[in-house]
Symmetry: C2
Subunit: 575 residues, 2 copies
């Protein structure tokens, strides 16, 4: 036996792989099966959703355009015109204020939830953000919490009475949990996912489950169960995804805080596209048990899924994260790292070195995002931050590693679900089934090699953070503002931080796309096919008025520092 008789480990040149041009999936839907077995179940699901809408809370027809899917309608302007002053006042409160006012007896849980039910109804009317409405169940819970408070004078936990919206994906005991797969309309979990369970034990009130795209794999919202969700600031545009409904419901203030999930940008896209806050934590801090995708009998740790909140303020994200960590979630989910929440002081700008990503070296951002980064540079410098330019490092390779690991099973888990229902494939589903290794998947030795390369990449980034003396990176969240439905493909600005498992906070920059200044540069020569496609999406007219969300990135496990820094950075950007 010599070395020649043995197989060798593969050596993979990530820079030469071109997953953009990967062969399309050979998988095909089955229209007959879909019609025969599933169309009725989909109708029943939508009928239930429709029936649960309290019609008395809908915005009057004269305020609502006939066609919400075209044109330039800003849905966030409607609730203030429709709601009574008390409801408006309550729904403008932050989560921090809400739990404080309930704990002091100034507000009841029922009053708070009733206000959010009213505003949520309008949010759903305009953005189609809900997949399941649980208002009755929520009101019952709120009444029980009030009863407890009246009897004992005490809250049951630090989230007592706080309405929290949940992305549909999270297992909900006794209710259909389909995760954007038609075939899962038959799936009714026995138990709550662990993260919602923890929030519930801390006093949260659940009342709405929000929309997501087919298979959870798009930075968009199209699915074949409830159709598409809409962007809150411009209803014709994409709310992002896959936590689509969380982005729009939070922007509408139909929920004070919501629970999303993120494996490639699924919290950050909707936060950025709708102009709200979101945190994608390091993977081992929050439980994903019961919040998975299609895979039921397998685990792929190649790219780690995460769950996390979206809200309208950094303080609300902090509240969520602190309460969650304080509950010692690692005693419920063995996979979590036992990391207590650290109380840290707010840094001074001069304590922080911020590295700015103007271009990731693969796809140049659109004009609004370029302008936002340039503005950020000016404002951060003026506020006293140390500001440097982040030289991109192996982003193309990182995306290749991410996509290949993501598709390690040849997308078998997803395709088994699609095959079960025969449902159509949305264009972005077809796309995501084709990137990376597509149908082929990885073999065992390739997988182990990719994992090693991922570890090397992570170590290189930590070294760069250390050598460049960088505290945080500030980066565009996507190449542009909210795109048209069915279009966003390049996820390098977000998925890079998933493969690196970094702490990320997405924040509203305070800036909006402006068609008068964010002009398309038609002389620009794309450097590659990724860029050619994405730059081709830019339309100043459609971008106009949409919020520009930026993302603060820290080392792994720096959620505490990342949130505090984001607050200070946001302060400087919006000063």
């Amino acid at each position: 036996m010599t070395v020649a008789n043995l197989a060798k480990f593969p050596s993979i040149d990530h820079s030469k792989e071109d997953q953009w041009a990967a062969s399309a999936t050979t998988f095909k839907p089955n229209p007959e099966l879909f019609e025969e077995k599933w169309a009725g179940k989909i109708k029943a699901y939508n009928d239930t959703l429709e029936a649960a809408i309290p019609k008395e809370y809908l915005a009057p027809a004269d305020l609502v355009p006939k066609d919400l899917d075209s044109g330039h309608f800003n849905a966030t302007l409607i609730p203030p015109k429709v709601l009574d002053p008390e409801t408006l006042a309550i729904t403008e409160l932050t989560a921090v204020e809400i739990v404080s006012k309930i704990a002091s007896g100034e507000l009841t849980s029922v009053a708070v939830l009733t206000a959010f039910i009213k505003r949520c109804t309008i949010a759903h009317q305009l953005t189609h953000c809900a997949m399941e409405i649980l208002f009755d169940e929520g009101l019952k819970r709120a009444a029980e919490l009030d009863d407890h408070f009246t009897k004992t004078g005490k809250t049951i936990g630090p989230l007592h009475g706080l309405p929290i919206s949940l992305k549909e994906q999270h297992d909900y005991a006794g209710h259909i949990t389909h995760r954007g797969y038609v075939a899962l309309l038959d799936n009714i979990p026995d138990a709550m996912a662990i993260t919602p369970q923890i929030l519930y034990e801390q006093g949260a009130v659940f009342y709405v489950r929000t929309t997501e795209p087919q298979s959870l794999m798009h930075p968009d919202s199209v699915n074949f169960i409830t159709g598409r969700g809409r962007n809150a600031v411009k209803t014709s545009m994409s709310p992002g995804g896959s936590s689509s409904g969380e982005g729009s419901i939070i922007a509408m203030k139909g929920s004070p805080i919501g629970l999303g999930s993120d494996i490639g940008g699924s919290i950050r896209f909707p936060a950025a596209f709708n102009g709200v806050w979101g945190i994608k934590p390091t993977s081992l801090r929050l439980s994903g048990v019961g919040s998975s995708g299609a895979a039921e009998t397998t685990v792929n740790f190649g790219v780690m899924p995460t769950v996390g909140p979206l809200a309208n303020s950094v303080e609300d994200l902090e509240l969520f994260m602190k309460v969650y960590a304080d509950s010692k979630p690692w005693l419920k989910d063995q996979s979590l790292a036992a990391i207590p929440w650290r109380e840290i002081p707010e840094p001074k700008p001069s304590d922080l070195t911020i590295a700015l990503v103007f271009d990731d070296g693969v796809v140049k951002p659109h004009p609004p995002n370029i302008r936002a980064m340039a503005e950020a540079e000016k404002k951060l410098k003026a506020a006293g931050f140390n500001v440097i330019t982040w030289e991109p490092h192996r982003v193309h390779e990182a995306v290749e590693i991410t996509n290949s690991l993501f598709s390690a099973d040849g997308n078998l888990a997803a395709k088994l679900k699609f095959a079960e229902s025969g449902e159509p494939l949305a264009p972005l589903t077809e796309y995501f089934l084709s990137v990376g290794r597509g149908d082929e998947g990885l073999n065992m030795l390739e997988y182990m090699t990719y994992i090693k390369d991922r570890e090397v990449l992570r170590q290189q980034y930590l070294t760069l953070f250390n050598e460049r003396k960088v505290d945080f990176i500030l980066t565009p969240t996507y190449v542009g503002v909210a795109p048209k439905p069915h279009t966003p493909k390049y996820w390098g600005y977000t998925s890079l931080w998933n493969i690196l498992d970094a702490s990320c906070v997405t924040l509203p920059s305070g800036l909006f796309a402006d068609k008068t200044i964010d002009l398309r540069d038609d002389t620009y020569k794309p450097r590659n096919k990724y860029e050619e496609y994405e730059y081709g999406l830019y339309d100043a007219e459609y971008a106009d008025g949409l919020p520009i969300g930026l993302t603060v990135v820290g080392r792994r496990y720096t959620e505490e520092e990342c949130l505090k820094a984001s607050k200070v950075i946001h302060g400087a950007l919006t000063a």
Copy 2:
């Protein structure tokens, strides 16, 4: 396209797999290649080792049996007969006392190291614990540390001047690092492994690198570079492995504290077999970068490797762990969870519920270990602990999952190394190449299924800990005391806690095998082949006098609690 056209994920019945009977590896050594290319390098390596021994410190010949590899010679009794009083006094100090006396100026680093060099020389003479001797390099470093202290009045860190022995496996800059593979005699790393590097920065002095078995895969010490290491308490018996030399050098007090590694029991076997302390931490607390096995271009996260210290007291393990965590190792190794060291109070016995493993349901322990557990039950109850019996849970399945994940690459990385040198395979190497999936390895879908099953198993154990209200498990570390060389195979009592990634502290029970009472039960009917083999190994005569090491097991990331509890448990056991 229907479901029938798609492959399915495998469903694996772990209880039916019988890796004990897995087909033997087809891989064969290449004696010609070995002789031709490597025999000379092995000789040169041993010549260097031999030349570095300071002959003036050897124990006199009349105290040393001619044949250390048979009979009942207890090497730990020799140093006190040979060493001068000052050397003896210094080498009897704990690591905590050493750093304290150096920091106060009572002892110099050179004086401390000189004492340990003397005792280490005897340790190596009797147990063959060293693979590389670095006395000159160590003395130079110690002198530099003394110089710094004299000039500044300060230590460079909390480990200032502390001699630390290193298992050979850890990358050592500029020195051959072979990890028990002959082919790696050509491997000279540029940089230190991260964990030794951290220890060095905290003030540690390196002076000896210790022995390990071929390929690091045995609970024994046989290798084809330096031969076998010996048990300190009975030199004819196995010191355990794979941190073989660390077990014997610590028992000999030729080192106050040493760095081992553990992926299936490799810290705990040597600690138990030589009667010393060892901690196998949860995997993401200490860096394994540069401390790996054969794999250079791949990572297998199926069973997580760990590194950790062995020492003569629990306080020394605590010192190591605290100093290490306080150095923020996650800023050096991105893979680590950022978990600060928590100072916690010592528990009262009545605060703790200890669950005892009398039998893991697969292989019944040998008579000395049964007696030790029965004694533990009595003593812990008398000391006021809440004591229950731990009902074993799916141990056979856990071992099957462990072995299969361990061999996911079909042992390709190891076999490529063996093929490169053509070296012979020790019997235990042949064995470990055959368990699990052996040459076959796993395919991608099987691997993902095994990982899921592993996660389910971990969650089941956490649930059992919670439901049974157990703080810690106390378990035999192996079925018996130190076995004869080439023999120990069953690793279920240790590897169970690797697949679960639990915190483990191995401690000396204070009891020793006693041939007059630990009688073999020849009427016992083995329940399976594992047990038939292991029970067949028991020999009361050879076991006689060997220490019985037990292991305290906690939930993941409970190193702080586990160490404090181990101290209290050890106190009760040895009262």
